[in-house]
């Protein structure tokens, strides 16, 4: 069995972040401005970036209540090519086990479209099996919508960077 694949089937991006925190592994969050076509970034972009952090922190502490507030009930989440519901996602977080995986968030760009925001970024992950690290990079696209006075995550997905 491909151990790297096995690791990826067992955990996802945010779970990996969650597992990193107790291990005091590196977490870097870099930013850049959106292109001219989308609305310029402002307070909303900062708020969304903060929510991306809260997302990671909520999972690091297995705080499903906090995550419940961040995720829309109709959240569409694609992990490893599979479609996962909010319920599936939160249930798995509850039973997640520590892992020796490491992830580094590299770049996140926020593009504003009125009450909708698109975040695009990359992250680097090392799945550990035995004593060997299996590095892999992913690019993600998240969709946030401003609802009832706050930003809520409605969709998230990632694709493997094959030429990195």
């Amino acid at each position: 069995m491909n151990m790297e694949l096995s690791i990826w089937r067992q955990c996802d991006r945010k779970q990996v972040i969650m597992r990193m925190a107790p291990l005091c592994l590196l977490f870097v969050f870099a930013t850049s401005l959106s292109p001219a076509q989308a609305a310029p970034e402002g307070g909303a972009a900062s708020a969304i970036r903060a929510l991306e952090h809260e997302w990671a922190e909520g999972q690091s502490s297995r705080d499903n209540r906090a995550l419940d507030l961040i995720f829309d009930n109709a959240l569409v989440y694609v992990e490893y090519g599979r479609l996962v519901t909010k319920g599936d996602y939160l249930s798995r977080i509850k039973v997640a086990e520590p892992s020796a995986s490491q992830i580094v968030m590299e770049v996140t760009t926020v593009r504003m479209f009125g009450d909708t925001a698109i975040t695009v970024g990359t992250y680097y992950e090392k799945g550990i099996s035995g004593n060997k690290a299996h590095p892999k990079r992913w690019r993600f696209v998240d969709t946030w919508v401003f609802k009832r006075g706050r930003w809520i995550l409605v969709a998230a997905a990632a694709a493997p960077l094959t030429n990195s």
């Binding site: 109709a74 694609v78 090519g81 479209f113 009450d115 990079r137 690019r139 696209v141 030429n163």
Partner: protein, 144 residues
């Protein structure tokens, strides 16, 4: 001829996309636009694609590569013999935003060998200036 057909499809999709609020057939409107998109890509109808994609549109492909709208159009123009269809599409509405998921089935020939690949996609559409525009799209290899 293909351009005329796509123009007719876009004309059909336009009125369909005229309401941002969710209605019983709202999902079919977005699905129709997705199908127009596929056909426009196959027909290399850049005018139709230009109408479907927001200027700030970004695309992330199954290899993780990110493309701007201009790069997508150039990629379509350079493509050859690719057939794309979408399956299992499900639409979620959030005010003037729609998120659609589904599976891309791509058929083509690579170095003389025919291939078929399946990818899961998530597309985000935004209602603006009287019509729907795609603002983001990601495709990733279909999982188990």
């Amino acid at each position: 001829m293909r351009t005329l057909i796509l123009a007719a499809l876009l004309a059909y999709a336009g009125p369909l996309a005229g309401q941002a609020q969710r209605t019983p057939d709202s999902g079919s409107k977005i699905v129709a636009l997705e199908n127009v998109w596929n056909q426009a890509a196959q027909a290399k109808d850049l005018k139709a694609l230009n109408a479907l994609l927001d200027d700030a549109f970004i695309y992330v492909g199954p290899d993780g590569k990110m493309l701007t709208k201009a790069e997508v159009l150039a990629d379509v123009q350079a493509s050859y013999g690719i057939q794309v269809s979408s399956e299992d599409m499900v639409v979620h509405f959030h005010g003037d935003t729609a998120v659609i998921t589904g599976i891309y089935r791509t058929r083509g020939v690579d170095h003389g060998k025919p291939f078929v690949r399946l990818d899961r996609f998530v597309d985000t559409w935004h209602y603006q200036n009287g019509g729907w525009k795609s603002i983001a799209s990601l495709a990733t290899p279909l999982g188990p």
